[in-house]
Symmetry: C2
Subunit: 140 residues, 2 copies
């Protein structure tokens, strides 16, 4: 209940309400390009003086992920990591296993390959997941 931030881009669709918690989470997600866990985001919110329940953070992240507003990624530690994506287009991520920094990558070849492979095996409704992980330059 600190700063009055009834901001900017909330073009809330019908039935969706704008709350202090939602705005705070959206702001935090906007500020970083790394994949972050729900716990991490929750802690970050607390540090900025914005108290948001952990349950609410999970609730919202799931809602955002379901609507496609953010991407999810599962770390090797078993945590689900979230990140706001720059584009709605299909793409993949190159993620640093150490710091979580992500680079968005495109792979026309991969898309084509996946489609072709599936067709050859007579599979339909094809979906694919590609996860590339490594250690980024700063973490070496």
């Amino acid at each position: 209940m600190t700063v009055d931030d009834r901001t900017s881009s909330d073009a809330a669709p019908a039935g969706e309400r704008s709350t202090r918690q939602k705005r705070a989470l959206a702001r935090i997600l906007q500020e970083t390009d790394e994949f972050r866990s729900a716990q991490s985001l929750h802690a970050a919110l607390a540090q900025t003086g914005t108290r948001v329940g952990l349950t609410t953070v999970y609730n919202q992240l799931r809602a955002l992920a379901d609507s496609g507003a953010i991407d999810t990624f599962r770390s090797t530690d078993g945590e689900t990591l979230y990140r706001r994506c720059g584009t709605d287009e299909h793409h993949h991520h190159l993620v640093c296993r150490n710091c979580g920094r992500a680079v968005e990558v495109e792979g026309p070849e991969v898309e084509a390959w996946a489609t072709q492979v599936a067709r050859a095996a007579q599979f339909t409704d094809v979906e694919h997941t590609v996860e590339i992980t490594g250690i980024c330059r700063d973490c070496r």
Copy 2:
């Protein structure tokens, strides 16, 4: 006690013992090339009449994974899946979402692409996972 100390000639570092449980797990892993959860493997063992504790299954899977004998993958459900492939060579799977049937596929283009993408971003220790899913012909 006059101990005859002829130690220090430890040439057998891996004092690994063969047990009924280890053999059973190895056999199950050998039988499939699909990713399977610890719970699934535990259940499969039970069905063949081989009682192995869940803890032991986890213990062994982790040991095998650490030694590089099997690969691990995290599903979207949050489970860790394990697989033992016939070769050490890298390959991927095309899995039917309905019946679970899996087809092994190779993708030299994908390997090359992933490597190149990672190098361009100056990432090291690169790993990648590709999962293609769809509905197979028999399930249409």
